[in-house]
Symmetry: C2
Subunit: 206 residues, 2 copies
């Protein structure tokens, strides 16, 4: 499978958002220029990114439906991957109920926590198990994606357990940099990096 | 106030995490090399980023406490800024209860929604008001930061209302690209960009 640059991968979801909006508005075709305007991404990049789909534009533009499907295929969002989430606190609970994931190939099939009040319950319909059961369950169900929403201090421990359990890709919502073997994929949702930029830019305005 | 590059600003919170961990472990000084190892950021960058604080290292390294304070000052995290959050769904509720923000200069003082069941209640101790009250309240309380956690389709409308209400910085948790006047600061927490990379890299491994 062809390796697509990270920068392209990060822009593809934005094109999908634009395509969905235009489809809702009744359009069936769209030009790279229009995608560029709505996504605020330069049209040279838009064309270059879309080229990975092997979908080409007619004189009037790209057909929206096949383009959307091709981008979802590239992102592996047309398949659904099962994942486990560890840390059913505020943020973890929110993610268990976040319906946007199901349209993006991600199904969170179980939550794990060490709070006895939570274990055995369902949060937004997702069952919560003891963190001690993670390894056995992951090995049995062959789950390959793990989501970390524990406090930062526990992130490395949970990552170690995930790797030991056969998990191949870790989505880390804590700012704690985790250390894993080189074949394990790690992605961060780094809220604080974004908050840092926002806070500083606001202060600079004074 | 000196303009700090975005790439530096995004790394500064990671150094803070490392400093907090080392302090917990009983250390009082730290070298750039050690910060580099723990943050997985090249030490040339570490030194360059830290130079913005005007704190210099002795032979044994930087003193942790003053360095931490200087970074927090740079990020304006030593001051607390009030903010409003619009969209008290799963994600919005989670953010209202997310205690990590208070250590990072952000206080969410009110939530807004259009669900009559939510209006007038408190979520994690934060009062929820009707979205119709946002403009009057923001102008009165001079709140300058707005957080958007509504469904993507409503993001632009809420951004328009925020700008009209005198809000100067928007933290957008939806993937919808919002269009605002050039003096308004917009930062995204783009979960789907990160999910896109994770999904594709996992698929590429097969």
């Amino acid at each position: 499978m062809e390796k697509i640059p990270t920068s392209t991968l990060k822009r593809l979801p934005q094109y999908l958002e634009v395509l969905k909006r235009l489809k809702k508005a009744g359009l069936r075709e769209v030009s790279a220029t229009k995608i560029s305007v709505f996504s605020d991404i330069h049209q040279t990049l838009v064309r270059k990114d879309i080229a990975y789909t092997n979908i080409s534009a007619s004189k009037t533009g790209y057909e929206i439906n096949p383009l959307q499907m091709a981008i979802e295929d590239l992102l592996n969002w047309s398949d659904t991957s099962s994942s486990y989430l560890v840390g059913v606190g505020h943020l973890g609970s929110a993610l268990l109920g976040y319906q946007e994931f199901s349209q993006r190939g991600l199904s969170i099939v179980a939550g794990f926590d060490n709070d006895p009040e939570l274990i055995g319950t369902k949060v937004h319909g997702v069952p919560v198990y003891s963190a001690l059961d993670l390894t056995a369950m992951a090995q049995k169900e062959k789950v390959r994606i793990g989501i970390i929403t524990v406090p930062p201090d526990s992130a490395q421990l949970i990552a170690d357990i995930m790797v030991h359990s056969g998990i191949k890709a870790i989505w880390n919502f804590t700012p704690h940099k985790i250390i894993v073997p080189p074949d394990i994929i790690v992605e961060y949702v780094d809220m604080f990096a974004s908050l840092a930029v926002l806070s500083r830019r606001l202060a600079e305005q004074h």
